[in-house]
Each structure stands twice: as structure tokens, then as C-alpha cells.
Subunit: 240 residues, 2 copies
Amino acid sequence: MARTVGVLGGMGPRATADFFQKLIDLTPARRDQDHLRVIIDNNPGIPDRSRHILEGGEDPTPALVATARNLERAGADFLVIPCNTAHHFLDAVRRGVRIPVLDITEVVAQRAADLERVGLLATRATVVAGLYQRALARKGCEVLTPSEARQELVNRAIFAVKAGDLGDRVRSWVREAGQELLERGAQALVLGCTEIPLVVDPADWQVPVLDSTALLAEAAVREALGPVATEPGVIAAFGE
Amino acid sequence: MARTVGVLGGMGPRATADFFQKLIDLTPARRDQDHLRVIIDNNPGIPDRSRHILEGGEDPTPALVATARNLERAGADFLVIPCNTAHHFLDAVRRGVRIPVLDITEVVAQRAADLERVGLLATRATVVAGLYQRALARKGCEVLTPSEARQELVNRAIFAVKAGDLGDRVRSWVREAGQELLERGAQALVLGCTEIPLVVDPADWQVPVLDSTALLAEAAVREALGPVATEPGVIAAFGE
């Protein structure tokens, strides 16, 4: 029996929908009944993560924890959060529930383990909070972040996607920021914000593109279908 | 405060994802916080609706009701079911929860009220159960259903989509069935199965195409954002 995926979503809704679609596409299935049970709480009312990190706006932690608990109560066996910036609050979410919560930065870092230097396209808050710098340092991989002017373009693009604008102008902002990172020696680009894949064509670049949404979906499918537990007590219970 | 949408999903998952995307696209929003809270229980393990209706396979009613109750407990203020065939069991679902459950066939029928004759592309089970024939008869609109050979093509297409095949061959089956209905005098085509819009380009036809997924999403946005209640006590509470 596969485990039920809980999706702490709504940050933003388009990124959550993209995650859900990628999860479906990555699930081996020939009929409805082969697919995973996925419970999504798309809760866009969670206060702005970036604003809290950068300007001390309302703390999203209580809403994040409440939404995580709602998913646990509804039957999720583990949680994913298809929003990179929200991972600044991951420890609090993990303390708030009894089920595992995957770490999107760790999932991406595992894929970047063989690289020396990657470029990061993410919210300014994710960059300032150092989420990817820490996760990738553990793999011996350096993170290049955009210059101030290019980071501003990336941020503008992310908030444009949240407003429903996926147009060419928005795409060009992301392309320009990525190009700068490649010129400075990035061997790959990390799409470290789940809005970014919605305005990026990986074919635009000659280097590997690590899409955090797709990698989290892949990890969720593995977690849902994989061996039920490594904890001895739980395995024993299954053997009964 | 907008109402929370509950989505009884997984029938199939791709149709649920399409519904979610259309709901997002139809919501007036400039930032995450303007979007609707949407709780989705994508439960693809619900037994096959068509098989039960046509061959007496396992009854999906208990799983449908349990999933509806799970959404109600998780905070949904009303429910939608982005699966037409599942509406054969709508009365049981409605009896199982205290919150309203929208009726996809009623939503489509409202849009077809001015028409005399529409063609129906749906599962054989939806056709046999007469779901649209009843809903549209109440509006004085006649339903044309495909010949046996074309119905077989439509069914094959629906189960191909569930298996992840959205290719040209599958699209041509649906086109052929739709063409037959137009030749027999249909003034519009009802996409009365939520898998069908995934393999239909409305531009293929010269007549209006009533996409049940999109119309249900539109109705859900109205229900979520509309006047909170017609019940006098509740209105009074808002006036305080």
C-alpha cells in the first residue's frame, strides 16, 4: 500500500498545481487506481514568507504549522512543501507534526553533489536566508547568486508569476539572470523557487537545470512507493 | 472571507489537476493571498465508477462518502467532484455530509439552457445512467449520444488519458465521435467527462464546446466568492 502524500501548498497556487502535475507525470500508472493518494491543502492565505524574512512582516509560522497539522489529520503519511522560501520555517513545521516532512533544498542538493559551482535562481529571501548555501555547502558545492540588479529581475519575475503573468517579458528577466550566473562559471542552474520553472524552458540553457519542483515530486513518488520504513520497530510491525 | 473549496478528486488525477489549474486561472488574483483556499483529496483508489454502473463491480459509494467527509472535516465549506460519472452517486455523497455539493451536470445544463440539441461526449456509464439526459431535459434540451462504434472510441480515449496517453491518435478518436454528433444536428458539444478536455482543442469545432471541468471551476469560484449565505441569521451576523 503506497503512502499518502500531503502537500502544504498555496505558496503560490500555480506552483502547487505544477507540483501536482509533475507528481502525476512521474507516477508509474496505467489506470486511476495505480496513482498516489495526494491530499493538498492549497492555503494561499499563509502570510508572505519573503516579507517576514526581509522586512519583519507577519510571521507565517503559525499558519504553516496549522496547515501541516490539518494535512496530518486528513491522512497524510508525509509532507512536502512546494515553496522554497517556506523552508526557512521547516524546523518549526517538523516540530509541529509527527509525520516526516521532506526538505526541498536537501533533495536538490543530492542532485548537485557532483558539481563544484551552481547558480541559484530564487527569491531574495531564500538567498538572504542562505537556504541553498547551507544545503549545498554540505555537498562541497559552491552557490553563485545573482548581482543585485539581476536578483531584482528574478524577484520581479516570481511575483509576476504569482500575479498570473507567464509572458515573454517575464521569461526574459529570468533568462538574463541565469545568463549572468553561467558567465560567472555556474556549471548548472538551480531553480530554487517553485514559480521559476513556470517561466523557464530548460532548453534555453546549455547546462543542467535543477528544477526544485520536479525534484521534489520525484522524491515524493519515491517516498510514497518506497520501502515503508527503516525504523526497526515499524518493520517488525509490518512483518506480523 | 472567501469559502474553502473541497475537491473530491482522483477520478482521474489528471482531470483533478486540470480542474485545479482552471480554478486558479479563473480566480481574480494579483498575489498568493488573493487566491482561494482549496483542499483536494486526490483519492484514485476509489473503485471504478463505470465498472460498477455497467457490470456491477465494487460499489464506489462508501469510498466517495468517506472522502467527502474527510474534506468536510479538513475545513471545506462546499464540495465539487471533477468526475461526471461519479455524479451517479451524488445523492449518497450529499446525504453523507452537511456541506453543499455542486452538481456538475446542473452547472453544464444551465449553460445549455438556450440550446435545443447538444451532443454528449462522456463515458458509456454516464450515457447509460442518463445523467445528462435528465439534467438537460429539465432545460428543454435534447441530448444526442454517439453511435455504438463512436461511443467505443470515446471510452477508449478516456481510459487512454487515464493511462497518460494524450497523443494525436487519442485526440482523433474524440474528434471523430464529435463530428458524428455535429452531422446529426448537435448545436454544441458537451465534454461530459473530465478526461475529455485534456484531448480536445475547442478550435477543432465550429460550434460551442461546453467543457464540464471549466464550467465546474467557474461555478466553484462563484460559490467561493459569492454572497456568503441567503440564510437571514448569517446575513445579520455579517452586518454586526
